[in-house]
Symmetry: C2
Subunit: 340 residues, 2 copies
Amino acid sequence: MQLFFYQYELQLKHQFTLSSSSRKSTPAVMTEITHEGVTGYGEASMPPYLNENYETAIKFLSKINLSQFKDPFLTEDILEYFDSIDKGNFAVKASVDIALHDLIGKLTALPLYKMWGLNKFNAPNTSFTIGIDTPDIIKQKIDEASSFKILKIKLGSENDKKIIETIREITDVPICVDVNQGWNNKDFALDMINWLSDKNILFVEQPLPKELMKESAWLKEKSPLPIIADEAVQTSSDILKIRDLYHGINIKLMKCGGLRTAREMIYLAKELGLKVMIGCMTETSCAVSAAAQLSPLCHWADLDGNLLIKNDLFDGMKIIDGKITLNDLPGIGIEKKFIS
Amino acid sequence: MQLFFYQYELQLKHQFTLSSSSRKSTPAVMTEITHEGVTGYGEASMPPYLNENYETAIKFLSKINLSQFKDPFLTEDILEYFDSIDKGNFAVKASVDIALHDLIGKLTALPLYKMWGLNKFNAPNTSFTIGIDTPDIIKQKIDEASSFKILKIKLGSENDKKIIETIREITDVPICVDVNQGWNNKDFALDMINWLSDKNILFVEQPLPKELMKESAWLKEKSPLPIIADEAVQTSSDILKIRDLYHGINIKLMKCGGLRTAREMIYLAKELGLKVMIGCMTETSCAVSAAAQLSPLCHWADLDGNLLIKNDLFDGMKIIDGKITLNDLPGIGIEKKFIS
């Protein structure tokens, strides 16, 4: 087996504003693992708040020696080897985890969802994310998103109510609210959630800073809407810590280190009675299609990252009438685009 | 897909005595799932304490309509359908779960351990079980078991110390002690465990009745040896209940309903910091070889059930120098024997 990788800057269609930051591009590293002429593709998308970047990713990938593994099917051994190289580095670990899974799928001529026994027709609708913006831009973005059955709205600014009211003037489509830790006290958060509760909101993601654990437990108890953990959950061990603080979790490959861990997290969370959402960063169709393979196991999905960039490198999972639609290609189900 | 099944009585080589019962045979039901000319094999072994029998198994299997599923790869849907037919019935559910997994492996031409990314060389040694008996018979059985690197000794009778002393006169091989809930108070259990603690004992399985939860938590805290749950753990939800009462769990396909649940239980238990042992009932090489596919994920294995019967129907996983040795056959790795 051999590993190749290169830097790639993901160009965003719209400037992307959260409660904490704003940016026009996201650094990514693309990986390829080749075995006997077959290539699996992977990707690390590294938004700044993950504390990974080109330098850390290249440093990590440079330490990998895949020639020691003769059999790519030894995924447990190989993925444990990746884990052993360094702590953290979850996005870049996800990139090699995805590439390895893509390779295995191609070597067995099976889509991953099929290797995992999943029914692709059980894949959920995805939400489409609208960043924090002026009412006019929000209106324009919602027009562009008219084929989606669920919108994800970023709140956590001064204008939260105005944003929701603006959207509700245009559409009644169900909304997921994502606060990205932007409401910093529990009473304000509960007031907001109560205000949102009759506005066809599916859930509220990470309303409080993740450190406010007691307040989050209080909010879970009082909230009329499900509260989903995002920043508060990175890997499996976090699920046990937050099970009494949230109603569900948002799993992202770039946060948890890849498909293997994500899959384990889904089963663990469901066993604990938590709802599961699968999300993404701004990513090409590579990482988004990888995550989509797991989506039939999830209650909700927010897999629109590839739609937010201008320079996708792959064709893969499609959103058709708002629904995640998996193809029958082996592995993660992608083909490289020929870009002129 | 089509399902076939038949009754089969497993004839034991030796009368088998636990702290609670004694018997010479075990009822089993053998299953086969066929799809486009390929057949997957499964088995339900039903020792009396599981509360399943020919009648319940046949009743359950008669309700299954597999013709509704055109694609055997939809294992999540199919296994959920099996679960939906009736509560309980874990052994017979395991029989169809095993047959389905065997079928999928054969359709993809991959051993299950390979589909699951496991390294077959990580499979552990198995213990070999010695039932409660007279010192002379025990000596004879230990002679027969000389190729095993670990013995499993059933305790819970009047003669516990005598049994261990008899064995220790003959061999220093590491021993797993299985009490099958046979010590009924915590102080006696702790005294026994303290007495055992300098006798090269790996762990003590189910020393107290599973209902004694407080006492089990107390015992876990005091015990110099790891305490493993067997009767106290059936499926995933039990693991969460007993995580503070035991150091580890014994997973058996017949208890939990098959390979899918067993695999989830292994990951869940390890995530919770519990040790994992994979065990079996008296079974043919069918169910034992199925469990063996998961053994590379486990700390300990007790997969000797096929060696305890006279009328095995299959060739499968072998024990070589005490170690579980998986072959490269697809699925659960078995071939039907031609018995005259």
